[in-house]
Structures are given as C-alpha cells and as structure tokens.
C-alpha cells in the first residue's frame, strides 16, 4: 500500500514531470473543518488522498497524508466529524499500516497527527488510556514523541513550516 509508486499515484499536487510541486499553501477541507499548511520554507510537500485514494479497501482510515519529502516528515490528517476518539482510531489504524521498515526505507524521521473536529472537544481528553496509546504508537514508530506530534483543534488549524 505505502509503496513509493502508490504514494506518487495518489499525490494531488504533482507537476507536469511527475515530481512533487512546491506549493505556498496546501489546504485540506471538509464541510466545517479546514487544515492549512503554510509552506514557508518552500519544501516539496505532497498532498496525498488516503480515504478513497491510497487506501481503498474496507479498513478504517484517515482523510489525508502530507509528506514533506525533503525532511522526511509525515502529517496524518483527519477532518470529518465531531467524534474525537473515532478520529484517533482512524489515524491509529492508518499509521499502523505504515510498516516501520518502510519508514526507515524512505528516511521518514517524524510522524505528526492532525485532528480537526467540527466542534469543540471537552478539554480533558488527554487523561485517557486511548490518548496514551496513540502517543505510544508514534513513539514506537519514530523512537520518541514531543508536544508538536499530536495537535487536536476545532474548525480550523494552521500549520507553519
């Protein structure tokens, strides 16, 4: 699934030569939720459709994947709906599909989770085994975890890179 060929096949922002374009802003939008990636450092960042693109079977999956190929950074993005834990579960299942040796093969150094809910979540969601398990999954894949790896916001999220 996560072969280089498949990743490129599902990339929406390729130029005429089949290479990833350098876009100033990348927007992922769904009804009431919006994610804006501001590519200030002008890297090759691919916008890849997961839901109905890269993953087309029945398994749980998140909406979008952004790959900063220059620095080896992944952004898993989920936009639909208001249920935080469903979004977490979708992202978890998607990340699980990316085998760890594949991460090393492509020199991916960092994994980021971006969840944009259509409404506000009660603030104490971090106090839960489910959140801890998401953190552990990331730690398992890339060796450690920091504050910026998981961001959960409502309605709109800006990413400045």
């Amino acid at each position: 699934m996560f072969t280089k060929e498949n990743l490129y096949k599902n990339t929406e922002n390729l130029d005429t030569n089949g290479n990833v374009r350098i876009d100033m802003t990348i927007v992922c939008k769904e009804r009431n939720s919006e994610y804006r990636y501001h590519n200030r450092l002008q890297k090759h960042v691919a916008k890849i459709k997961i839901d109905g693109g890269l993953i087309s079977n029945d398994q749980e999956r998140c909406d979008w994947l952004l790959i900063n190929w220059d620095d080896g950074i992944l952004f898993f993005i989920e936009l639909k709906g208001s249920d935080l834990w469903k979004a977490v579960s979708q992202i978890q299942t998607t990340i699980d599909t990316v085998k760890t040796n594949m991460l090393q093969q492509f020199s991916f150094k960092n994994i980021n989770v971006r969840i944009i809910l259509s409404k506000n979540q009660r603030p104490d969601y971090k106090n839960d085994a489910r959140y801890k398990k998401l953190e552990q999954l990331i730690k398992e894949k890339i060796g450690n975890i920091r504050n910026g790896n998981i961001r959960i916001e409502s309605r709109q999220m800006q990413e400045n890179c």
């Binding site: 709906g81 208001s82 259509s118 009660r122 104490d124 106090n127 839960d128 085994a129 489910r130 552990q136």
Partner: protein, 420 residues
C-alpha cells in the same frame, strides 16, 4: 496468569447483579449507569466486612441476638445469624424472589457463602469459622457448669481472657476493619435535623448516629500545631471544597465562608456543602488518628462542581496513602471523578524512574501518587463488571463513559450536514 487477590467476592443473581467476581484492592472505583448494581456490590462488601462484629456479638457475654447457651448450635444459631443480619440490610422480599448465591472469601481458607433457594436463605461457613464457633460454645458450656455465666463474673480474668481470645481469632479470620459507610442522600440529615423520621434503608439509617460521631470526634480530637501543619494540604482541600470552614459551637453547627465572618447554619448551606461536609470531616478525622480505616463512599461528587470533584479525589487519595492498610471503595457517575486519577496513576509510574522522580514530584505531590497494582476501576452494567484500566498503559480508558457525548456528536454531525 492473573494472581488471585484476597479478599474475593462472588455474586450470582442478586438484585441487578447477574455474575460478578473480583478480588478487592485497596483503592476501588465503581462507575456505571444508575440501578446497574454498583451500590449492591459495595453494600455486600460492607456486610461481609461487618460480619466480624455480629459473629463476636453472638458469642460474647451477655450473649447477643437474644440467644442462650442452650440455643447455641451450628445448624440453628449460626444459620439464623445470617438470616437476621442479612434481612436487616436487605429487607424487601423482592431481593429473595430469585435464587442467588454470594460467596465472600476472607482468605483462601475462610469464607462465607449465602444461598437463597426457593425464597429461603442459608449460609455455608468454612471449617475454621465452624471450629471457632464450636470452641466458643464449649467455653461457654464450661462457664455455665461452673456457674460463671452471671453478670458479676463478666470482669473475671477467665471471661475477659475468653473475650480477648474470641476477638483475636475472629480478627484473624475476618480481618479487623474500622468500617465507614457514607451513603448517597446524606444531605437530608441537616435538613431533617429536628424532625423525628424513620428511614427504612438500614445503610442510610445507620449514618445518622455516624454524623454525631463525626462531629464529636472533630471537636474532641486534639489538633495541636504540629499535626495541623503536616495536614496543611488536606485541610486546604477541605476548605476549597466547602468554600469555607466548618464551625461547631454548642448545638449550632455551620459553615463560615472563606470571605465572610459569620457562620451560616448548616440547614442554610448549599446542597454541595451539605452533601460533602460529612465525607470531608470524616476523612479529615482519620488523619489525626492512629487507626486504619476502610471507607465506602457513594457518589463523592454529589452536588459538586467539576473542580471540587477533582479536589475531593485528591483528598481521598491522601487518605488512602496516609496509612498502609487504609482502603477506599467508591461508586460514582461522574467522569470528573475518574480523570484526575489517571494523572495520579501516571505520576506514580513516571516517578518510579529515579532520574524523573524529583521532577514529577514538583508537578504532583508524591503523597497522592496511585500505585496501579493497588487500584482498580470497574464499569458496572447489565449485571456484570468490566475493568476499564488498560493493562498496557495502566490508565483508565473512558470509552464506556462516552455514550452520552457520542449521541450528542452524532446529532451535531447530522445537523451540520444541513447547514449551508
């Protein structure tokens, strides 16, 4: 392989409970929908723990339960002991309509089994309890032969020794606990202060004298400067929750608000203050005592704002950790009671790492770290219980509590689809 924890209780078909078995840890929380059986479980636990008192009373001079030495026999008196005491707590015949059985293991060898068949209640005792009963009966028969059963002999060395031995042996089998049961609906007591009222529920009824005991213990416990300083945090928590301090002078008791110089009589205090006051005072009293306790508290969150719910859980955790052997069992409806505990569990786990210990201590007082091995949280529903502590990360998974929000979220998503 799960280690078998003692004591252990097994409940089959009693009240709303279908099939529940678990070992009892020092710090247990039950959460679940109303009428799911949380209260039934903790009441049974209380009953079996208190059984020690009834057993000893039966065999102490003057003999309890209106028995005489002649009437003391295993098949009769020991059976009746259970019937009398159990029916006292669970009066209504509705409890005995269906066949049930309940087994409480005090230890591997010591147990009591209650069986209800065809609306009749029977008890099965382990051999060590039966043996103790027989030995005591023999002693009493001997006393009678020697004519020493009269009240004037109660202080004689022989009888005193008999009582001490009986108590020691009973404590060895049943455990020796200072049991405190704080029921839901406790805020009615200040309101009904001067009205004579008969409360049917024995658990709630028993609480009325307990309130007087709490008050008098509060008044009589010496609180010198040094003990007040070491208990500073706990006292602060109580004042935060009460939004003031408890004040008792003669017959009048009330609360002096933090920002006001007059004492407001208890009947006029807020329902949150009334409901939480007894829990707070009772727990505070334990810090000034040498003994160990076992507290059962129903709904500590009653009438409290979420922040106060967090404060009361911190206070209760101070209590559990204050003395080796202190135990706590609570029933709750509120996620605000559970989420602070997740942090306390995490703090304990991180704090085991020597290099992180001091940093964790700066965030959370080590006196309220919760050791996951001594903690359990059960979700009660459909007559069963399920632990919601994730065995991998040793934190609680609150998925079962999310149903109300999930329904709300579904509705929200459907409505927002109709937005322009």
């Amino acid at each position: 392989m799960q280690k078998i924890i003692m004591p252990k209780i097994e409940i089959k078909n009693f009240g709303p409970i279908k099939d529940v078995t678990f070992g009892i840890k020092d710090y247990t929380v039950f959460i679940g929908p109303q009428a799911s059986g949380k209260s039934t479980i903790v009441k049974l636990f209380y009953y079996f723990r208190k059984f020690n008192t009834d057993f000893v009373r039966l065999l102490s001079l003057p003999l309890g339960f209106k028995t005489s030495v002649d009437q003391l026999d295993i098949s009769h008196t020991l059976q009746q002991l259970v019937c009398k005491t159990f029916h006292d707590y669970w009066e209504h015949k509705a409890f005995f309509i269906q066949d049930f059985n309940i087994t409480y293991n005090y230890s591997n060898q010591t147990y009591i089994k209650l069986i209800c068949k065809n609306k009749e209640l029977y008890a099965e005792y382990s051999t060590d309890i039966i043996k103790l009963f027989e030995e005591s009966r023999q002693h009493l028969m001997n006393f009678r032969k020697q004519g020493k059963l009269k009240p004037e002999y109660y202080d004689s060395p022989m009888i005193v020794a008999y009582h001490n031995e009986l108590r020691d042996k009973a404590n060895k089998f049943f455990g020796n606990w200072n049991m405190k049961y704080i029921p839901a609906g406790r805020h009615v007591f200040p309101i009904l202060k001067d009205q004579p009222v008969f409360i049917k529920d024995k658990f709630v009824r028993n609480f009325s004298p307990e309130i007087n005991y709490i008050k008098s213990e509060w008044e009589n416990t010496p609180k010198n400067n040094s003990s007040l300083i070491t208990k500073q945090k706990q006292i602060e928590l109580v004042q935060l929750i009460l939004k003031g301090s408890y004040s008792i002078s003669g017959d009048e008791d009330g609360i002096m608000p933090s920002d006001f110089n007059e004492v407001i009589p208890l009947v006029y205090a807020s329902s949150g203050q009334q409901e939480s006051l007894w829990v707070l005072l009772s727990i505070l009293n334990t810090f000034f005592s040498e003994e160990k306790y076992c507290y059962i508290i129903e709904e500590p969150e009653a009438h409290l704002f979420p922040e106060a719910q967090r404060n009361i859980m911190h206070l209760l955790t101070y209590y559990v950790n204050n003395k080796c052997g202190n135990q706590l069992m609570i029933t709750t409806h509120s996620p605000y009671i559970l989420t602070p505990l997740n942090n306390l569990l995490q703090a304990y786990l991180l704090g085991q790492n020597k290099s992180k210990h001091d940093n964790v201590s700066k965030i959370i007082d080590p006196k309220i770290w919760i050791n996951p091995d001594h903690f359990e949280c059960y979700y009660v529903d459909n007559g069963n219980i399920e632990s919601i502590v994730d065995s991998e990360v040793k934190m609680m998974n609150l998925e079962k509590l999310d149903n109300a929000s999930r329904i709300g979220n579904d509705e929200y998503d459907k409505l927002s689809e109709l937005e322009d």
